[in-house]
């Protein structure tokens, strides 16, 4: 057992000796410093190992041979050991990282670093309140030294401000420590703790002083201007130390002292933390300098931990683990990011774009960003879950709101940054990152993954998840060096094998959506064979999205559902981001998804609080809260289904994605939201708020989405955008169907979901095929492609007949069902709009087929070839399915109907045998009837007869070029002017333009601008004047004091 004093002995002894050395011994100094740090780390590891195996007991170490409270003692338990390990590892890497600086300024730097980390360790170990003051000062002073590693006037000014601030803070602490001594006669923490119940008013003031001093050390809003300057001006490696080691220590220290505090002090800490989290992230929105941005983010994260620690009286001791989860993530990710920052030259967010030249570094960066945003599988994700669950259990909704809003802001700037890194213009082809400097970030990224793995053990909810799908992600990540076709085959095989084993276990809705997701995977992957090269990163990300979807379907618990939801979001975000110009769209996708996910999380947490269940059946409840929960969850899912108002991310995201990603995100991914809605509606049923049926509101939302989505689609020039808006419309129909809460309504919705999956996959692939040949998405620049790409044309033709609901193809089923459902439900107004929307759908579909395929062939497209076989194959598979379902609609509808009868026993369709064979059955509803097979046969019959007549009648039928008749074979003008395709429905927008005003977009733009304005106003606080920062600190201190003591 190595006494923790050895850390002090080695640190200080070596530190003092280093004072003697000169420039000539720089290498030696460097070695010794490294050695000492390694020794620190070793001691921590030694203790962890000892404590873990039970070889050591958590123990108290006394100095000077006297027992406390008369001497200073150190305590070392598992918590201390882990925290000190974190600090020391960071120290070790820092010393390695700073070796150039250490070789340059060996004497002061090595010694100061050593002493500083020794001090941090002691702060963790010591149990004496005054001793804390001494080591706080040591930390502050060494900080003011290492800030100077960057020798410029920014760093000097920052150091000065830092020092000023910390002298005021330490005065608070000193006064507190002294007062506690006068009041209790002791400086020994555990001793004082025993007297807590009998604290005199003086002791309360003392505890307040100490706590507030450490809270200010943790940079609460608004008393944190000094810290931001340090983050910006100091070398990023220092940022890593401050944000990682110092903050970790201070938080641990705070947790140590907080036990002395009353519930009021806890509450104060929690509020300060939550506000800091919110405002700091808010102001982060306006940051352009990466280091300062990281500073804001650090401060925010620390605020969150503060808030969590402050919740201890409410949530119990579990908060320590939650706080640790957030802290660990912050520690690893922030240190890693700061280290990366040190290797990037340039001080703009754009300059980070060089990272993407190195896939490993980019991955590391991605891990940090996702970990900070609390995505699975990182510890912060589990912590966030536990925190929100816990908070809602105690009814702290305001705090939940603050925290969730804060984390949304954080995600905005983190992902804006991430998008810039992945997408911004960068001339340099070399990442220019030294591997030596990347080692630390790499190690920490791995630690984050490992931390996530272990964090699962601390989950209070049963997760009962099947993590097998995630294996595919890992495997493909590892095999990312392989050519695309090999990975494609591998992933296809994995999907195949998985569905072979798992699909039979599914049932009901699970089965339907499981089939959609797995079939979707197969269809989109078949397309993938058309891609050449390696497609780095594509397959693991695809696997991630599909893994998320499959896990979503398999989820039986709230946690499992949320986990899968986040995995899916992350995967799809990456996929969307891969598109050439998709960065802003990917960002808005991420924001809406994240906002939605937060609502889902909060909703789940409240549901759990109400029912106490962990399974999805927690949503079955009858409580005054249920409408609120219902609204939150619905909104959450509606962000994914892109209901009108929440749809603005979709057109860009779907259209700018790569050709085979568009069908994934449009045809398949959106169904996740539908599935969520089904899960929700099945369990919560109809909810009322103030007597208003929320389902009626949703039906309006659905129908408006359908109408406006379709109208917008009709106005697009870009064929992918057209399809994207069409998805808004289609999903609107599905929502409309679901909101009816009737058998037919759901039949409409679910068959609609399946059909939308088929059509959209097929059409996006067809359009992708066109793009692969023409490299253009503007429809008016094409034309006449039917002559060059007839196979694709047929697909689009079938697609539009089906989608527009013209009999005899399957789309008619949707119309028929919707009308019947509307009549049944007496939703006449919505029904009328649904019809209008359906008619408008016809407009955009015609445009989609006319503009690129019909009319005149443009000169530049005369040599275009048919899309490749791999692109066509999945489309024709879909056509086969569509034709089968069209001919025998019962194949699909009757089965779904049976399933729905469990949920809605009444009002379903009746299926009656008809006179003709092969299972053609007539569907009978309350109002009408329909036999798809007859319709198909009659139509084909008439068409066939007429075709034969035509063939017989015609004589000498010749194919001639266009215009042969009217212009006698002379082309009057260039195709550019005679192909009527641009601004196709000008008259329509003239008539109904008022419906297409981008209100939603304006609204969100307005929101975004206001949010940024406020951020800008807020950060005016930090005017750069150290004196003002001091006043902030004093102001903060006084406000807190008078809040605690009930005013003047």
């Amino acid at each position: 057992m190595v006494s923790p004093f050895y850390i002090l002995i080695v640190g200080l002894g070596l530190g003092f000796l280093l004072g003697m050395t000169g420039k000539k011994q720089a290498a030696l100094t460097n070695m010794l410093t490294l050695f000492a740090m390694a020794f620190f780390t070793g001691v921590s590891l030694h203790w962890i190992q000892g404590l873990y195996t039970g070889a050591f007991q958590p123990s108290m170490v006394f100095s000077a041979g006297f027992k406390p409270p008369f001497s200073i003692s150190l305590f070392l338990g598992m918590h201390e050991a882990v925290i000190s390990l974190m600090i020391n590892v960071l120290g070790l890497i820092s010393v390695w990282y700073f070796r150039e600086f250490l070789l340059r300024d060996s004497k002061p730097l090595g010694a100061v670093l050593l002493v500083m980390f020794m001090g941090l360790n002691m702060l963790v170990f010591t149990r004496d309140l005054f001793n804390i003051f001494v080591f706080l000062e040591i930390t502050a002073i060494s900080m003011s030294g290492i800030i100077l590693m960057n020798d410029n006037h920014h760093a000097h000014a920052a150091g000065f401000k830092y020092l000023l601030a910390s002298s005021l803070i330490s005065a608070f602490y000193l006064l507190g420590a002294v007062l506690i001594y006068f009041s209790t006669g002791s400086l020994y923490l555990d001793d004082i703790l025993t007297m807590k119940s009998a604290f005199a008013p003086m002791a309360l003031i003392a505890v307040f002083l100490m706590v507030i001093a450490i809270v200010i050390e943790l940079k609460p809003f608004p008393a944190n201007g000094w810290a931001l300057d340090v983050y910006e001006a100091a070398h990023p490696g220092i940022g890593a130390i401050v944000s990682g080691a110092v903050t970790t220590t201070m938080l641990f220290l705070l947790n140590k002292i907080l036990v002395l505090g009353s519930d009021k002090i806890y509450l104060l800490t929690a509020s300060v933390g939550a506000l800091t989290f919110l405002f700091s992230n808010w102001m982060g929105l306006q940051q352009k300098n990466p280091n300062r941005l990281l500073g804001y983010s650090s401060i925010g994260q620390v605020g969150l931990v503060l808030a969590i620690l402050g919740m201890k009286p409410v949530l119990g001791d579990g908060v320590e683990m939650i706080g640790f989860g957030v802290l660990l993530t912050h520690f690893l990710a922030k240190a890693g990011l700061f280290w990366l920052s040190g290797t990037v030259k340039g001080s703009s967010l754009e300059s980070w774009a060089i990272l993407r030249n190195n896939p490993v570094i980019l991955t590391i960066f991605g891990i940090f960003v996702f970990a900070l945003s609390a995505f699975p599988p990182f510890p912060s994700f589990y912590a966030k879950w536990e925190l929100i669950i816990g908070l809602s259990g105690t009814g702290n909704y305001l705090l939940i709101a603050l925290i969730l809003l804060g984390s949304l802001f954080e995600v905005i700037y983190l992902f804006r940054w991430f998008g810039i890194v992945v997408k911004a213009e960068s001339e340099e082809s070399d990442s220019g990152i030294e591997w030596g400097k990347a080692a630390g970030p790499a190690l920490f990224a791995l630690a984050l993954l490992a931390g996530g793995y272990f964090a699962r053990n601390y989950l209070s909810a049963p997760d009962m998840m099947n993590f097998i799908p995630l294996v595919a992600v890992v495997v493909l990540w590892v095999l990312d060096f392989m050519p695309a076709w090999a990975k494609n085959t591998l992933l296809l095989a994995m999907v195949g094998i998985y569905s072979w084993f798992y699909l039979p276990q599914y049932s009901d809705y699970q089965l339907i959506f499981g089939i959609i997701f797995m079939a979707g995977a197969v269809l989109t992957l078949l397309y993938g064979y058309s891609e050449k090269g390696k497609r780095p990163g594509f397959y693991p990300l695809t696997a991630m999205m599909f893994a998320g979807l499959i896990m979503l379907v398999e989820a039986t618990t709230l946690f499992g559902f949320f986990f899968a939801w986040e995995v899916m979001t992350a995967g799809s975000y990456f996929l969307i981001l891969r598109g050439k110009k998709s960065q802003p769209h990917a960002l808005s996708y991420m924001l809406f998804s994240f906002g939605g996910a937060l609502l889902i999380l909060a909703g789940f947490a409240m549901a759990h609080a109400v029912t106490g269940l962990w399974t999805l059946d927690a949503l079955v409840m009858d409580s005054p809260l249920s409408p609120v929960i219902f609204i939150m969850l619905t909104l959450g899912f509606l962000t994914k289904t892109a209901a009108i108002g929440l749809h603005i991310w979709l057109p860009g995201a779907h259209s700018e994605a790569e050709a085979d990603v568009s069908p994934m995100v449009s045809g398949i991914l959106l169904k996740a939201g539908v599935y969520g809605l089904i899960v929700l509606f099945m369990r919560m049923g109809t909810q009322y708020i103030g007597g208003v049926d929320l389902m009626v509101i949703l039906s309006w939302v659905g129908i408006l989405s359908a109408l406006i989505g379709n109208l917008m689609a009709a106005m697009q020039e870009d064929m992918k955008r057209l399809l994207a808006y069409s998805s808004v419309g289609q999903l609107g129909y599905i929502l409309f169907g679901l909101s009816m809460m009737s058998n037919l309504g759901w039949l409409l919705a679910i068959s609609g979901a399946i059909m939308h999956f088929l059509y959209k996959t097929m059409l996006f692939q067809a359009v992708g095929g066109v793009y692969s040949r023409t490299h253009d998405r503007m429809m008016y620049r094409m034309g006449g492609l039917i002559f060059r790409m007839p196979m694709t044309f047929i697909v689009v033709l079938i697609g539009i007949i089906a989608l527009s609901g013209v009999p005899p193809l399957s789309g008619f089923a949707g119309k028929w069902l919707s009308f019947n459902a509307v009549l049944q439900k007496e939703y006449y107004l919505q029904g009328a709009l649904a019809v209008l929307a359906g008619a408008v759908a016809f407009l955009y579909l015609f445009r989609l087929i006319h503009a690129p395929f019909l009319g005149q062939l443009k000169d530049n497209l005369r040599k275009v070839k048919e899309a490749s076989l791999w692109i066509l194959l999945p489309q024709y598979l879909v056509i086969a399915v569509i034709m089968a379902v069209s001919t025998v609609p019962g194949l699909l509808l009757e089965r779904i109907g049976k399933l729905l009868a469990k949920t809605f026993p009444d009002g379903g369709l009746l299926w009656v045998d008809s006179k003709i064979p092969f299972g053609a059955r007539t569907a009978i509803s309350e109002y009408g009837y329909w036999n798809g097979t007859y319709v198909m046969l009659v139509t084909i019959g008439i068409f066939g007869i007429l075709l034969i007549v035509q063939l017989l009648m015609q004589r000498n039928n010749k194919k001639v070029g266009q215009f042969n008749i009217v212009y006698s074979g002379e082309r009057p003008s260039t195709p550019e002017t005679t192909h009527h395709a641009y601004n196709f429905y000008a008259h329509y927008s003239k008539a109904l333009g008022f419906l297409m005003v981008p209100l939603a977009e304006r609204f969100w733009t307005w929101i975004s601008e206001r949010v940024h304005d406020i951020a800008h106003q807020l950060r005016q606080l930090y005017n750069g004047n150290g004196q003002v920062y001091l006043m902030h600190i004093m102001f903060f201190f006084l406000v807190c004091y008078f809040l605690i003591n009930g005013g003047f």
Partner: protein, 303 residues
Amino acid sequence: MGEKIVYAIIAVFIMLNYGFLVNGVIRRIYARVGRRIGVPIYQMYIDLFKSWGLRTNIRHGTMFYLGPIFRLTGGIGLFLFMPAVYGLALFTNFSFSGDLLLLLSFQFFGTLGMALGASESGHPNSAIGVTRGLAQMTAVEVPFILAIMAVAIQYDSLSLTEIIAQQQGGFLNWTLFTNPLATAAALLAMLGAMMRAPFDVVLAPQEIPIGPPTEYHSNYMVFLQSNRAIFPLAKSILFMNLFFGGATTIVMMLVKTFILLMWPVLVGVSFPRFRVEQSIRWFLRVPMIIGLLGIAYVHFFLK
């Protein structure tokens, strides 16, 4: 099944010829209003045989070739999917395949095919005509559907046969009298659906003087003209069935449809032409409100 097919062929044959004649009459009426003598009533037959007799015909592509077939399939199909004469096996057609909704949707089959065919001709004006047609159609659809919804609510059925059955027993049982609002909405919508003036700007590109029918000639023309004969008739039958008590005999059917066909003609000769956006606005205003009132009337007073 076999007899049904035979009946259907007979019914279609009758309706085609009737349609040709009616079209001739309509052209004469237009001429008379314009103080011209006009063509003979059998002019359509002359045109048909002339077109048929052309020695060569050309095509611009597959869709161009198939367009008229789609078109006529749409017209005949619409007719065949509904019972033309109530209780008469000859004219019951294939109405067992689907209800009112099938008819409403099937209308577009021909429109779509024709639009595709015309588009392939590469002629800019045909595309313009198509966009106009589609745009106007969407607007027409709304009041029409509202009217149909009112009817469906009123009779608790979407089955045409059922709806006709409920209107039997005196003309006061007709929807026209039981629900005049819905009927009014539908009749106004019909003006647009028939693409007669004032809603005939859709056809304007043909008049300029090129467009789909110009590109289409010979036997294509035959198909298109046949469709012109049967499609409006089919629509009239639909209206008749919905609002005017259907028909129990062939003669009644022929008379009623003729009168119905005269309705847009009469309106058309007395009004100027609307631009597309004007007609869209108009349909989404007057007829739509009437349609909504019709539904309200049914919902609150008849149920």
